[in-house]
Symmetry: C2
Subunit: 197 residues, 2 copies
């Protein structure tokens, strides 16, 4: 125990008021710019729009992934939770499909997101690594359940499924003509994984 009393704010969270405000401004700007330019958005543009020096930007978010984490982490965690509640509530195949629908909607929220997820999954030092991996594992449990029920091919694992779904999301970003057929491509792939009676 130190001299710290109950009324002291948590030292880990204590921040000067201007620092807190700058952080919020950066995040606001980031949401806008990433929305426009995708996950590879210019960090300078974000700092500029936030009205903040580059040093301030880097002090708050030392890497691009640190910034993306605060934008994406919530969504990843939400999908992890949703997978588990679907596992308890819905039929195996329907649960998986419903989850994938939700996942795909999220993965097309920002341009470049599918690519960022793949990068973050193979980079253990990324602050997004853990939550993205947890989300994939949660999806993998839904997959396993559908496989055990005999509804999905047995020779597919969570990595395969995640890769295929991200591959479709990515390709849809590459050309408007493909984007228009995204749902169709998605169902072609999922039909292929489904065991027909």
């Amino acid at each position: 125990m130190t001299g710290k009393t109950a009324s002291d704010p948590d030292p880990q969270r204590a921040q000067r008021a201007d620092a807190q405000r700058n952080r919020a401004r950066i995040l606001d700007a980031a949401r806008t710019v990433v929305d426009e330019q995708g996950t590879q958005a210019s960090l300078r543009d974000i700092a500029r729009r936030a009205g903040v020096g580059m040093g301030t930007f880097y002090r708050h978010f030392p890497t691009r992934d640190a910034l993306l984490q605060t934008l994406l982490c919530q969504g990843f965690d939400r999908l992890s939770v949703k997978a588990d509640s679907l596992a308890a509530a819905a039929a195996p195949e329907e649960a998986l499909m419903e989850w994938l629908r939700d996942f795909t909607a999220g993965s097309t929220a920002y341009r470049g997101l599918a690519a960022s997820m793949m990068t973050t999954l193979s980079d253990e030092s990324s602050p997004l690594h853990a939550s993205c991996l947890a989300m994939r594992e949660a999806g993998a449990r839904l997959l396993k359940r559908a496989q055990d029920a005999g509804r999905i091919r047995a020779d597919v694992d969570g990595t395969d499924l995640f890769a295929l779904v991200n591959a479709v999301s990515w390709i849809a970003e590459q050309a408007p003509s493909v984007a228009a057929r995204r749902e169709h491509l998605f169902s072609l792939v999922m039909d292929g994984l489904t065991r027909r009676p």
Copy 2:
């Protein structure tokens, strides 16, 4: 008719000796650097390695696509020809699969190639547009043939097939763990397109 005689070299092809040598050097360097860095390789690096000024580089290849064209066009054309000869020689499904095998091998030759092909297909001003489109159309004819023979789902078109195959090639570039499963992902997708008896 102008004063041009038969012994004049083709004025369109006439080039000073140093220009011809520089062009060859740039292409040599490009092959090496694109091999190392992918289709998004630094153009400066290529010019440097070729021992040539930036102006010279741009004089010979005014855009990145103009450079890629000379590296990739032959391969595209070869695959177009191969599609037509397979259509004449092999059973519909086998012909399609053999062609896709060949196509995939080519599309993984350089990192970023799948992305470049998608870009070039939606950019009519790209010098690669025509030959890439021709290749896709040649593949589409093999697809149609296999569909007419009842071996492939009827609700797939050449754009879908091309998109799916490129999506798998791209995803395999994103992580070594996925690269190791590339063949498996490819067969999952193709199985899905195949009509089972």
